[in-house]
Protein backbone atom coordinates (compact mmCIF):
# COMPACT_ATOMS: atom_id res chain seq x y z
CA UNK A 1 0.00 0.00 0.00
CA UNK A 2 1.60 3.32 -1.00
CA UNK A 3 1.72 5.86 1.82
CA UNK A 4 1.73 9.64 1.57
CA UNK A 5 3.51 11.01 4.61
CA UNK A 6 3.84 14.41 6.29
CA UNK A 7 6.63 15.08 8.82
CA UNK A 8 5.96 17.50 11.66
CA UNK A 9 8.77 18.51 14.00
CA UNK A 10 10.07 21.91 15.03
CA UNK A 11 13.65 20.62 15.12
CA UNK A 12 15.42 20.32 11.76
CA UNK A 13 17.62 17.33 12.69
CA UNK A 14 14.52 15.39 13.76
CA UNK A 15 12.92 15.97 10.34
CA UNK A 16 16.21 15.08 8.70
CA UNK A 17 16.46 11.64 10.30
CA UNK A 18 12.82 10.84 9.41
CA UNK A 19 13.44 11.94 5.83
CA UNK A 20 16.51 9.73 5.59
CA UNK A 21 14.84 6.65 7.10
CA UNK A 22 11.68 7.08 5.00
CA UNK A 23 13.70 7.52 1.79
CA UNK A 24 14.62 3.84 2.04
CA UNK A 25 11.16 2.65 3.06
CA UNK A 26 9.21 1.05 0.20
CA UNK A 27 6.15 2.82 -1.24
CA UNK A 28 6.49 5.92 0.94
CA UNK A 29 6.28 9.45 -0.43
CA UNK A 30 6.96 12.47 1.75
CA UNK A 31 4.41 15.09 0.70
CA UNK A 32 5.13 17.73 3.33
CA UNK A 33 7.64 18.76 5.99
CA UNK A 34 6.22 21.04 8.66
CA UNK A 35 8.10 22.93 11.37
CA UNK A 36 5.05 23.65 13.52
CA UNK A 37 1.44 22.67 14.22
CA UNK A 38 -0.14 25.36 12.03
CA UNK A 39 1.80 24.13 9.01
CA UNK A 40 0.72 20.60 9.86
CA UNK A 41 -3.00 21.47 9.92
CA UNK A 42 -2.61 23.34 6.64
CA UNK A 43 -0.72 20.42 5.07
CA UNK A 44 -3.42 17.97 6.11
CA UNK A 45 -6.14 20.21 4.65
CA UNK A 46 -4.26 20.91 1.40
CA UNK A 47 -2.49 17.62 0.73
CA UNK A 48 -4.49 14.96 2.61
CA UNK A 49 -1.56 12.75 3.62
CA UNK A 50 -2.28 9.24 4.89
CA UNK A 51 -0.02 9.56 7.89
CA UNK A 52 1.45 12.26 10.07
CA UNK A 53 4.72 11.81 11.98
CA UNK A 54 4.01 14.28 14.74
CA UNK A 55 6.29 15.70 17.44
CA UNK A 56 4.51 16.40 20.74
CA UNK A 57 6.29 19.47 22.07
CA UNK A 58 6.13 22.27 19.53
CA UNK A 59 5.52 26.01 19.71
CA UNK A 60 1.96 27.38 19.59
CA UNK A 61 0.11 24.13 18.80
CA UNK A 62 1.35 20.94 20.42
CA UNK A 63 1.01 17.49 18.87
CA UNK A 64 -2.15 16.66 20.80
CA UNK A 65 -3.83 19.85 19.66
CA UNK A 66 -2.90 19.04 16.07
CA UNK A 67 -4.42 15.58 16.50
CA UNK A 68 -7.56 17.15 18.00
CA UNK A 69 -7.88 19.21 14.81
CA UNK A 70 -7.00 16.69 12.11
CA UNK A 71 -7.32 13.29 13.81
CA UNK A 72 -10.34 12.27 11.71
CA UNK A 73 -8.49 12.61 8.46
CA UNK A 74 -5.10 11.10 9.07
CA UNK A 75 -3.26 8.34 10.95
CA UNK A 76 -0.93 9.79 13.56
CA UNK A 77 2.43 8.49 14.78
CA UNK A 78 3.82 10.55 17.65
CA UNK A 79 7.57 11.11 17.94
CA UNK A 80 8.98 12.49 21.17
CA UNK A 81 11.77 12.17 23.73
CA UNK A 82 9.19 12.13 26.53
CA UNK A 83 7.77 8.75 27.46
CA UNK A 84 5.19 10.25 29.83
CA UNK A 85 2.83 11.06 26.93
CA UNK A 86 2.67 7.45 25.70
CA UNK A 87 -0.48 6.44 27.58
CA UNK A 88 -2.26 9.60 26.51
CA UNK A 89 -1.18 9.00 22.90
CA UNK A 90 -2.79 5.57 22.77
CA UNK A 91 -5.93 6.88 24.43
CA UNK A 92 -6.35 9.32 21.56
CA UNK A 93 -5.84 6.39 19.18
CA UNK A 94 -2.46 7.39 17.86
CA UNK A 95 -1.24 4.52 15.69
CA UNK A 96 2.19 4.45 17.30
CA UNK A 97 4.49 6.30 19.62
CA UNK A 98 8.17 6.56 18.73
CA UNK A 99 10.61 7.46 21.49
CA UNK A 100 13.55 9.55 20.34
CA UNK A 101 16.10 8.43 19.47
CA UNK A 102 14.54 5.64 17.42
CA UNK A 103 16.09 3.51 14.69
CA UNK A 104 15.19 2.37 11.21
CA UNK A 105 13.70 -0.93 12.41
CA UNK A 106 11.37 0.74 14.90
CA UNK A 107 10.21 3.16 12.21
CA UNK A 108 9.51 0.26 9.82
CA UNK A 109 7.37 -1.30 12.58
CA UNK A 110 5.42 1.94 12.90
CA UNK A 111 4.83 2.02 9.13
CA UNK A 112 3.53 -1.58 9.26
CA UNK A 113 1.07 -0.55 11.99
CA UNK A 114 -0.06 2.41 9.93
CA UNK A 115 -0.76 0.10 6.96
CA UNK A 116 -2.69 -2.27 9.20
CA UNK A 117 -4.75 0.58 10.62
CA UNK A 118 -5.49 2.07 7.21
CA UNK A 119 -6.38 -1.36 5.77
CA UNK A 120 -8.87 -1.91 8.60
CA UNK A 121 -10.35 1.57 8.01
CA UNK A 122 -12.15 1.90 11.30
CA UNK A 123 -15.17 4.14 11.52
CA UNK A 124 -14.10 7.75 11.89
CA UNK A 125 -13.31 8.28 15.54
CA UNK A 126 -14.42 11.31 17.46
CA UNK A 127 -10.97 12.82 17.93
CA UNK A 128 -12.02 15.65 20.28
CA UNK A 129 -13.88 13.21 22.50
CA UNK A 130 -10.82 10.98 22.60
CA UNK A 131 -8.66 13.96 23.41
CA UNK A 132 -11.08 14.77 26.23
CA UNK A 133 -10.78 11.24 27.56
CA UNK A 134 -7.00 11.54 27.57
CA UNK A 135 -7.01 14.68 29.70
CA UNK A 136 -5.66 14.15 33.18
CA UNK A 137 -8.38 14.30 35.83
CA UNK A 138 -8.63 17.79 37.33
CA UNK A 139 -6.91 19.51 34.41
CA UNK A 140 -9.02 21.64 32.11
CA UNK A 141 -8.58 23.18 28.71
CA UNK A 142 -7.00 26.61 28.87
CA UNK A 143 -7.72 27.37 25.23
CA UNK A 144 -9.73 26.03 22.31
CA UNK A 145 -8.19 25.23 18.97
CA UNK A 146 -10.61 25.53 16.07
CA UNK A 147 -9.87 24.62 12.51
CA UNK A 148 -11.34 26.63 9.68
CA UNK A 149 -10.18 24.98 6.45
CA UNK A 150 -6.43 25.29 6.54
CA UNK A 151 -6.52 28.00 9.21
CA UNK A 152 -6.32 27.37 12.93
CA UNK A 153 -7.79 29.70 15.51
CA UNK A 154 -6.61 29.58 19.08
CA UNK A 155 -9.11 31.02 21.56
CA UNK A 156 -8.01 31.46 25.19
CA UNK A 157 -10.74 29.97 27.34
CA UNK A 158 -11.40 33.18 29.31
CA UNK A 159 -12.39 34.91 26.06
CA UNK A 160 -15.22 32.45 25.49
CA UNK A 161 -18.64 33.90 26.43
CA UNK A 162 -20.77 30.84 25.79
CA UNK A 163 -21.00 27.79 23.59
CA UNK A 164 -24.09 26.69 21.72
CA UNK A 165 -24.96 23.39 19.96
CA UNK A 166 -25.54 23.53 16.22
CA UNK A 167 -26.25 20.12 14.71
CA UNK A 168 -22.94 18.21 14.71
CA UNK A 169 -21.02 21.31 15.71
CA UNK A 170 -20.66 23.65 18.62
CA UNK A 171 -20.67 27.39 18.02
CA UNK A 172 -18.10 29.11 20.22
CA UNK A 173 -19.09 32.71 20.95
CA UNK A 174 -16.18 34.92 21.95
CA UNK A 175 -16.86 38.66 21.84
CA UNK A 176 -18.03 39.61 18.36
CA UNK A 177 -16.88 36.35 16.80
CA UNK A 178 -18.55 32.99 16.50
CA UNK A 179 -16.59 29.97 15.35
CA UNK A 180 -17.78 26.45 14.63
CA UNK A 181 -15.97 23.44 16.01
CA UNK A 182 -16.75 19.85 15.08
CA UNK A 183 -17.47 18.43 18.53
CA UNK A 184 -20.48 17.69 20.74
CA UNK A 185 -21.40 20.07 23.55
CA UNK A 186 -21.20 17.24 26.11
CA UNK A 187 -17.66 16.30 25.12
CA UNK A 188 -16.53 19.94 25.20
CA UNK A 189 -18.26 20.40 28.56
CA UNK A 190 -16.25 17.49 29.97
CA UNK A 191 -12.99 19.23 28.95
CA UNK A 192 -13.83 22.53 30.67
CA UNK A 193 -13.59 23.54 34.31
CA UNK A 194 -17.10 22.80 35.71
CA UNK A 195 -16.80 25.71 38.14
CA UNK A 196 -16.42 28.14 35.24
CA UNK A 197 -18.59 26.66 32.52
CA UNK A 198 -22.15 25.67 33.38
CA UNK A 199 -24.64 23.85 31.21
CA UNK A 200 -27.51 26.26 31.75
CA UNK A 201 -29.60 24.61 29.05
CA UNK A 202 -29.50 21.50 26.86
CA UNK A 203 -28.06 23.68 24.08
CA UNK A 204 -25.99 26.22 26.03
CA UNK A 205 -22.77 26.15 28.02
CA UNK A 206 -22.20 29.47 29.79
CA UNK A 207 -18.99 31.06 31.08
CA UNK A 208 -20.04 32.07 34.62
CA UNK A 209 -17.86 35.20 34.48
CA UNK A 210 -20.18 36.59 31.81
CA UNK A 211 -23.37 36.18 33.80
CA UNK A 212 -24.80 39.54 34.91
CA UNK A 213 -28.13 38.37 36.39
CA UNK A 214 -30.98 35.92 36.09
CA UNK A 215 -34.43 37.08 35.07
CA UNK A 216 -37.62 35.11 35.81
CA UNK A 217 -39.94 35.19 32.80
CA UNK A 218 -42.55 32.91 34.31
CA UNK A 219 -42.65 30.41 37.15
CA UNK A 220 -40.42 27.84 35.44
CA UNK A 221 -38.77 29.87 32.71
CA UNK A 222 -35.73 31.99 33.41
CA UNK A 223 -33.29 33.88 31.21
CA UNK A 224 -29.60 34.43 31.87
CA UNK A 225 -28.63 38.01 31.08
CA UNK A 226 -24.99 38.36 30.04
CA UNK A 227 -22.84 41.37 30.81
CA UNK A 228 -23.06 42.48 27.20
CA UNK A 229 -26.87 42.20 27.27
CA UNK A 230 -27.22 38.92 25.37
CA UNK A 231 -29.88 36.58 26.73
CA UNK A 232 -29.74 32.78 27.04
CA UNK A 233 -32.55 30.46 28.13
CA UNK A 234 -32.04 28.67 31.44
CA UNK A 235 -33.71 25.28 31.92
CA UNK A 236 -34.97 24.00 35.25
CA UNK A 237 -31.97 21.68 35.71
CA UNK A 238 -29.69 24.45 34.44
CA UNK A 239 -31.09 26.74 37.15
CA UNK A 240 -30.47 24.05 39.77
CA UNK A 241 -26.83 23.78 38.62
CA UNK A 242 -26.44 27.57 38.77
CA UNK A 243 -27.92 27.72 42.27
CA UNK A 244 -25.43 25.13 43.40
CA UNK A 245 -22.51 27.21 42.14
CA UNK A 246 -23.65 30.71 43.07
Amino acid sequence: MPLRVALVDDEAPARMVLREFLAHAPEVTIVAECANGFEAVKAVADLQPDVLFLDVQMPKLDGFEVLDLVGRDVAVVFTTAYDEFALKAFEVHAVDYLLKPFGRARLAEALARVRERLAARPAATDAPALAAAARLPGTWLTRLVIRDGADVHVIPIDQVDYVETQDDYVAVHAGERTRLKEQTLASLESQLDPYRFVRVHRSYLLNLDRLARLEAVSKDVRMAILRDGRRLPVSRSGFARLQELL
Binding site: P59, L99, R143
Partner: protein, 348 residues
Protein backbone atom coordinates in the same frame (compact mmCIF):
# COMPACT_ATOMS: atom_id res chain seq x y z
CA UNK B 1 17.91 14.22 79.31
CA UNK B 2 18.93 10.84 80.66
CA UNK B 3 21.17 10.50 83.70
CA UNK B 4 24.75 10.62 82.36
CA UNK B 5 25.88 7.74 84.62
CA UNK B 6 22.87 5.53 85.29
CA UNK B 7 21.90 5.38 81.61
CA UNK B 8 25.39 4.96 80.24
CA UNK B 9 26.64 1.42 80.77
CA UNK B 10 30.44 1.96 80.75
CA UNK B 11 30.03 4.82 83.24
CA UNK B 12 27.57 2.81 85.35
CA UNK B 13 30.07 -0.07 85.49
CA UNK B 14 32.80 2.31 86.64
CA UNK B 15 30.44 3.76 89.23
CA UNK B 16 29.51 0.31 90.58
CA UNK B 17 33.21 -0.60 90.83
CA UNK B 18 33.98 2.58 92.77
CA UNK B 19 30.76 2.61 94.76
CA UNK B 20 31.63 -0.24 97.20
CA UNK B 21 35.13 0.98 98.21
CA UNK B 22 34.03 4.63 98.36
CA UNK B 23 30.90 3.94 100.36
CA UNK B 24 32.73 1.56 102.69
CA UNK B 25 35.54 4.05 103.22
CA UNK B 26 33.05 6.86 103.85
CA UNK B 27 31.21 4.89 106.57
CA UNK B 28 33.97 2.79 108.07
CA UNK B 29 36.88 5.27 107.85
CA UNK B 30 35.64 7.86 110.41
CA UNK B 31 34.18 5.04 112.55
CA UNK B 32 37.51 3.21 112.79
CA UNK B 33 39.30 6.53 113.35
CA UNK B 34 37.01 6.96 116.38
CA UNK B 35 38.31 3.58 117.61
CA UNK B 36 35.08 1.73 116.71
CA UNK B 37 35.38 -2.05 117.03
CA UNK B 38 35.56 -3.80 113.63
CA UNK B 39 32.94 -6.35 114.64
CA UNK B 40 30.21 -3.70 114.82
CA UNK B 41 31.27 -1.94 111.57
CA UNK B 42 28.60 -3.40 109.27
CA UNK B 43 25.83 -0.81 110.03
CA UNK B 44 28.24 2.04 109.21
CA UNK B 45 29.29 0.23 106.01
CA UNK B 46 25.69 0.13 104.81
CA UNK B 47 25.26 3.74 105.91
CA UNK B 48 28.26 4.79 103.80
CA UNK B 49 27.13 2.80 100.78
CA UNK B 50 23.70 4.50 100.91
CA UNK B 51 25.29 7.93 100.75
CA UNK B 52 27.65 6.98 97.95
CA UNK B 53 24.61 5.89 95.93
CA UNK B 54 22.47 8.90 96.92
CA UNK B 55 25.23 11.29 95.78
CA UNK B 56 24.29 10.38 92.20
CA UNK B 57 21.24 12.61 92.74
CA UNK B 58 23.54 15.64 92.59
CA UNK B 59 23.19 15.26 88.83
CA UNK B 60 19.70 16.70 89.00
CA UNK B 61 20.98 19.80 90.79
CA UNK B 62 23.53 20.32 88.06
CA UNK B 63 21.36 19.43 85.09
CA UNK B 64 18.24 21.29 86.08
CA UNK B 65 19.88 24.51 87.22
CA UNK B 66 17.83 27.39 85.75
CA UNK B 67 19.06 28.16 82.22
CA UNK B 68 21.77 30.75 82.09
CA UNK B 69 22.63 30.44 85.76
CA UNK B 70 26.26 31.31 86.43
CA UNK B 71 28.93 29.55 88.42
CA UNK B 72 27.79 31.34 91.62
CA UNK B 73 24.24 29.97 91.42
CA UNK B 74 25.60 26.55 90.67
CA UNK B 75 27.87 26.65 93.73
CA UNK B 76 24.97 27.74 95.92
CA UNK B 77 22.80 24.91 94.62
CA UNK B 78 25.52 22.31 95.05
CA UNK B 79 26.47 23.64 98.51
CA UNK B 80 22.85 23.72 99.63
CA UNK B 81 22.22 20.29 98.17
CA UNK B 82 25.29 18.90 99.92
CA UNK B 83 24.25 20.35 103.30
CA UNK B 84 20.69 19.10 102.99
CA UNK B 85 21.68 15.62 101.79
CA UNK B 86 24.37 15.27 104.47
CA UNK B 87 21.97 16.46 107.19
CA UNK B 88 19.29 13.99 106.09
CA UNK B 89 21.88 11.25 105.83
CA UNK B 90 23.24 12.00 109.32
CA UNK B 91 19.75 11.99 110.81
CA UNK B 92 18.93 8.74 109.01
CA UNK B 93 22.23 7.27 110.30
CA UNK B 94 21.42 8.23 113.84
CA UNK B 95 17.99 6.59 113.62
CA UNK B 96 19.50 3.55 111.86
CA UNK B 97 22.15 3.02 114.59
CA UNK B 98 19.50 3.45 117.33
CA UNK B 99 17.45 0.77 115.63
CA UNK B 100 20.42 -1.63 115.39
CA UNK B 101 21.93 -0.90 118.80
CA UNK B 102 20.65 -4.19 120.25
CA UNK B 103 22.67 -6.04 117.58
CA UNK B 104 25.64 -3.68 117.21
CA UNK B 105 25.87 -1.08 120.00
CA UNK B 106 29.19 0.57 118.99
CA UNK B 107 27.96 2.88 116.17
CA UNK B 108 25.28 4.39 118.35
CA UNK B 109 27.64 4.82 121.27
CA UNK B 110 30.42 6.40 119.18
CA UNK B 111 28.10 8.44 116.85
CA UNK B 112 29.09 11.80 118.38
CA UNK B 113 32.78 11.04 117.76
CA UNK B 114 32.71 9.97 114.10
CA UNK B 115 29.57 11.73 112.73
CA UNK B 116 31.31 15.11 112.18
CA UNK B 117 34.16 13.60 110.16
CA UNK B 118 31.80 11.36 108.18
CA UNK B 119 29.56 14.37 107.37
CA UNK B 120 32.55 16.39 106.16
CA UNK B 121 33.76 13.50 103.98
CA UNK B 122 30.23 12.96 102.65
CA UNK B 123 29.90 16.67 101.77
CA UNK B 124 33.22 16.47 99.92
CA UNK B 125 32.05 13.38 98.08
CA UNK B 126 28.79 15.11 97.12
CA UNK B 127 30.64 18.15 95.77
CA UNK B 128 33.08 15.95 93.85
CA UNK B 129 30.20 13.96 92.35
CA UNK B 130 28.55 17.27 91.31
CA UNK B 131 31.75 18.33 89.58
CA UNK B 132 31.93 15.01 87.75
CA UNK B 133 28.30 15.34 86.66
CA UNK B 134 28.84 18.90 85.55
CA UNK B 135 31.74 17.80 83.37
CA UNK B 136 29.72 14.90 81.93
CA UNK B 137 26.71 17.09 81.13
CA UNK B 138 28.93 19.62 79.40
CA UNK B 139 30.69 16.89 77.41
CA UNK B 140 27.39 15.28 76.40
CA UNK B 141 26.03 18.68 75.36
CA UNK B 142 29.07 19.27 73.19
CA UNK B 143 28.72 15.83 71.64
CA UNK B 144 25.02 16.52 70.94
CA UNK B 145 25.80 19.86 69.36
CA UNK B 146 28.50 18.21 67.27
CA UNK B 147 26.04 15.54 66.14
CA UNK B 148 23.47 18.18 65.23
CA UNK B 149 25.99 20.19 63.24
CA UNK B 150 27.13 17.03 61.52
CA UNK B 151 23.54 16.03 60.66
CA UNK B 152 22.89 19.51 59.27
CA UNK B 153 26.04 19.31 57.16
CA UNK B 154 25.11 15.89 55.84
CA UNK B 155 21.59 17.13 55.04
CA UNK B 156 22.89 20.18 53.21
CA UNK B 157 25.33 18.05 51.24
CA UNK B 158 22.60 15.59 50.30
CA UNK B 159 20.23 18.27 49.07
CA UNK B 160 23.17 19.70 47.19
CA UNK B 161 23.81 16.38 45.47
CA UNK B 162 20.12 15.90 44.69
CA UNK B 163 20.05 19.33 43.15
CA UNK B 164 23.12 18.55 41.08
CA UNK B 165 21.71 15.29 39.83
CA UNK B 166 18.57 17.11 38.75
CA UNK B 167 20.62 19.72 36.90
CA UNK B 168 20.80 18.07 33.54
CA UNK B 169 17.46 16.88 32.28
CA UNK B 170 17.62 13.38 30.75
CA UNK B 171 15.44 14.58 27.86
CA UNK B 172 18.26 16.88 26.88
CA UNK B 173 20.36 13.75 26.40
CA UNK B 174 17.62 11.88 24.47
CA UNK B 175 17.10 14.80 22.12
CA UNK B 176 20.85 15.18 21.61
CA UNK B 177 21.22 11.51 20.76
CA UNK B 178 18.38 11.87 18.28
CA UNK B 179 20.17 14.81 16.66
CA UNK B 180 23.41 12.81 16.50
CA UNK B 181 21.53 9.93 14.91
CA UNK B 182 20.14 12.40 12.35
CA UNK B 183 23.53 13.92 11.60
CA UNK B 184 25.20 10.53 11.31
CA UNK B 185 23.48 9.91 7.96
CA UNK B 186 23.83 13.32 6.35
CA UNK B 187 26.87 14.89 7.96
CA UNK B 188 29.02 12.36 9.83
CA UNK B 189 31.61 15.02 10.66
CA UNK B 190 28.96 17.12 12.41
CA UNK B 191 27.73 14.02 14.25
CA UNK B 192 31.25 13.39 15.55
CA UNK B 193 31.60 17.02 16.54
CA UNK B 194 28.34 16.82 18.51
CA UNK B 195 29.45 13.60 20.27
CA UNK B 196 32.57 15.46 21.29
CA UNK B 197 30.66 18.51 22.53
CA UNK B 198 28.25 16.34 24.49
CA UNK B 199 31.05 14.31 26.08
CA UNK B 200 32.93 17.51 26.98
CA UNK B 201 29.81 19.03 28.46
CA UNK B 202 29.07 16.04 30.68
CA UNK B 203 32.70 15.61 31.71
CA UNK B 204 33.05 19.28 32.61
CA UNK B 205 29.78 19.37 34.52
CA UNK B 206 30.71 16.27 36.51
CA UNK B 207 34.08 17.82 37.29
CA UNK B 208 32.46 21.14 38.25
CA UNK B 209 29.79 19.34 40.29
CA UNK B 210 32.41 17.76 42.52
CA UNK B 211 33.66 21.18 43.62
CA UNK B 212 32.03 23.42 46.18
CA UNK B 213 32.72 26.57 44.20
CA UNK B 214 34.05 27.10 40.71
CA UNK B 215 35.39 30.19 38.90
CA UNK B 216 32.62 32.10 37.16
CA UNK B 217 34.53 31.71 33.88
CA UNK B 218 34.15 27.91 34.16
CA UNK B 219 30.42 28.23 34.81
CA UNK B 220 30.05 30.53 31.80
CA UNK B 221 32.01 28.11 29.61
CA UNK B 222 29.62 25.32 30.63
CA UNK B 223 26.59 27.44 29.80
CA UNK B 224 28.09 28.35 26.42
CA UNK B 225 28.79 24.69 25.66
CA UNK B 226 25.25 23.74 26.57
CA UNK B 227 23.84 26.45 24.31
CA UNK B 228 26.12 25.37 21.44
CA UNK B 229 24.71 21.85 21.72
CA UNK B 230 21.11 23.09 21.80
CA UNK B 231 21.96 25.20 18.76
CA UNK B 232 22.28 22.00 16.73
CA UNK B 233 18.64 21.17 17.54
CA UNK B 234 17.18 24.63 17.18
CA UNK B 235 19.40 26.08 14.48
CA UNK B 236 18.98 29.83 14.03
CA UNK B 237 15.85 29.80 16.22
CA UNK B 238 18.26 29.91 19.16
CA UNK B 239 20.33 33.05 19.50
CA UNK B 240 22.36 33.86 22.56
CA UNK B 241 24.66 36.46 24.06
CA UNK B 242 26.73 36.12 27.22
CA UNK B 243 28.12 39.28 28.77
CA UNK B 244 30.67 39.39 31.59
CA UNK B 245 31.21 42.84 33.02
CA UNK B 246 34.57 43.86 34.41
CA UNK B 247 34.79 43.09 38.11
CA UNK B 248 33.44 39.59 37.86
CA UNK B 249 36.80 38.02 36.93
CA UNK B 250 37.86 35.47 39.51
CA UNK B 251 34.47 35.41 41.26
CA UNK B 252 33.54 31.95 42.50
CA UNK B 253 30.05 30.52 42.24
CA UNK B 254 28.35 27.21 43.13
CA UNK B 255 28.79 24.83 40.17
CA UNK B 256 25.94 24.59 37.63
CA UNK B 257 23.89 27.23 39.44
CA UNK B 258 22.99 28.84 36.09
CA UNK B 259 22.47 25.57 34.22
CA UNK B 260 18.79 24.99 35.21
CA UNK B 261 18.00 28.61 34.34
CA UNK B 262 19.47 28.23 30.87
CA UNK B 263 17.67 24.95 30.38
CA UNK B 264 14.37 26.63 31.33
CA UNK B 265 15.13 29.51 28.97
CA UNK B 266 15.50 27.04 26.10
CA UNK B 267 12.62 24.74 26.99
CA UNK B 268 10.01 27.22 28.14
CA UNK B 269 11.28 30.13 26.07
CA UNK B 270 12.92 29.46 22.73
CA UNK B 271 11.13 26.14 22.15
CA UNK B 272 7.72 27.90 22.46
CA UNK B 273 8.47 30.33 19.62
CA UNK B 274 8.05 29.41 15.97
CA UNK B 275 10.77 31.86 14.94
CA UNK B 276 12.81 31.37 18.10
CA UNK B 277 14.34 34.15 20.13
CA UNK B 278 17.29 35.32 22.12
CA UNK B 279 18.74 34.23 25.46
CA UNK B 280 20.98 36.72 27.19
CA UNK B 281 23.14 36.04 30.22
CA UNK B 282 24.65 39.03 32.01
CA UNK B 283 27.05 38.77 34.92
CA UNK B 284 27.85 41.83 36.97
CA UNK B 285 28.83 42.81 40.47
CA UNK B 286 26.93 45.05 42.80
CA UNK B 287 29.30 46.03 45.59
CA UNK B 288 29.77 42.95 47.70
CA UNK B 289 27.45 40.77 45.65
CA UNK B 290 27.57 38.98 42.31
CA UNK B 291 24.50 39.39 40.08
CA UNK B 292 23.50 37.06 37.25
CA UNK B 293 20.57 37.90 34.99
CA UNK B 294 19.23 35.33 32.55
CA UNK B 295 16.66 36.69 30.13
CA UNK B 296 14.80 34.98 27.31
CA UNK B 297 11.93 35.60 24.92
CA UNK B 298 8.90 33.35 25.24
CA UNK B 299 5.36 33.04 23.92
CA UNK B 300 3.12 34.90 26.40
CA UNK B 301 0.02 33.39 24.75
CA UNK B 302 1.33 29.84 24.98
CA UNK B 303 0.38 27.15 27.41
CA UNK B 304 2.22 27.35 30.68
CA UNK B 305 4.89 24.72 30.14
CA UNK B 306 6.94 25.14 33.30
CA UNK B 307 6.35 23.40 36.60
CA UNK B 308 8.70 25.65 38.55
CA UNK B 309 10.83 22.72 39.72
CA UNK B 310 13.99 24.10 38.13
CA UNK B 311 13.63 27.46 39.86
CA UNK B 312 12.65 25.81 43.15
CA UNK B 313 15.82 23.66 43.00
CA UNK B 314 18.05 26.67 42.42
CA UNK B 315 16.31 28.53 45.25
CA UNK B 316 16.75 25.58 47.62
CA UNK B 317 20.41 25.29 46.73
CA UNK B 318 21.00 29.00 47.28
CA UNK B 319 19.19 28.83 50.63
CA UNK B 320 21.21 25.83 51.79
CA UNK B 321 24.50 27.45 50.75
CA UNK B 322 23.93 31.09 51.66
CA UNK B 323 20.69 31.30 53.68
CA UNK B 324 19.33 34.82 53.27
CA UNK B 325 22.54 36.19 51.76
CA UNK B 326 21.47 35.03 48.30
CA UNK B 327 18.25 35.55 46.38
CA UNK B 328 16.47 34.57 43.19
CA UNK B 329 13.71 36.62 41.60
CA UNK B 330 11.90 35.64 38.43
CA UNK B 331 9.11 37.09 36.39
CA UNK B 332 7.73 37.88 32.96
CA UNK B 333 7.82 41.31 31.38
CA UNK B 334 5.87 41.28 28.11
CA UNK B 335 7.40 38.58 25.93
CA UNK B 336 10.55 38.35 28.04
CA UNK B 337 11.19 36.23 31.07
CA UNK B 338 13.87 37.36 33.45
CA UNK B 339 15.58 35.53 36.31
CA UNK B 340 17.90 37.47 38.58
CA UNK B 341 20.24 35.67 40.97
CA UNK B 342 22.18 37.56 43.62
CA UNK B 343 25.05 35.79 45.36
CA UNK B 344 27.47 36.92 48.04
CA UNK B 345 30.91 37.55 46.59
CA UNK B 346 33.09 34.58 47.43
CA UNK B 347 36.81 35.07 47.71
CA UNK B 348 38.96 32.88 45.50
Amino acid sequence: MLHPVLHHWPRLRLFLLLWVPTGTLLGVGPYLAADGPAGDAWPVTIWGLVFAAAAQASYYLVRFAPPGSGAGTLLWRVGGGALLTVALWSAAGWAWFQLLSPLAPAPEALFGRFAGMAAAAAACLFVAMSAVHHALVAADGRADAQARIHAAEVGARESELRALRAQVNPHFLFNCLHSISALAGQDPEAARRMCQQLADFFRDSLQAGSERLIPIETEVALVARYLDIEQVRFGNRLRHAIRLESGVEGLRVPPLILQPLIENAVRHGIATLIDGGEITVALTTDGERAVAVVENQFDPDGRRTGTGIGLANVRARLASLYQERASLTAGADGDRYRVRVVLPREAA
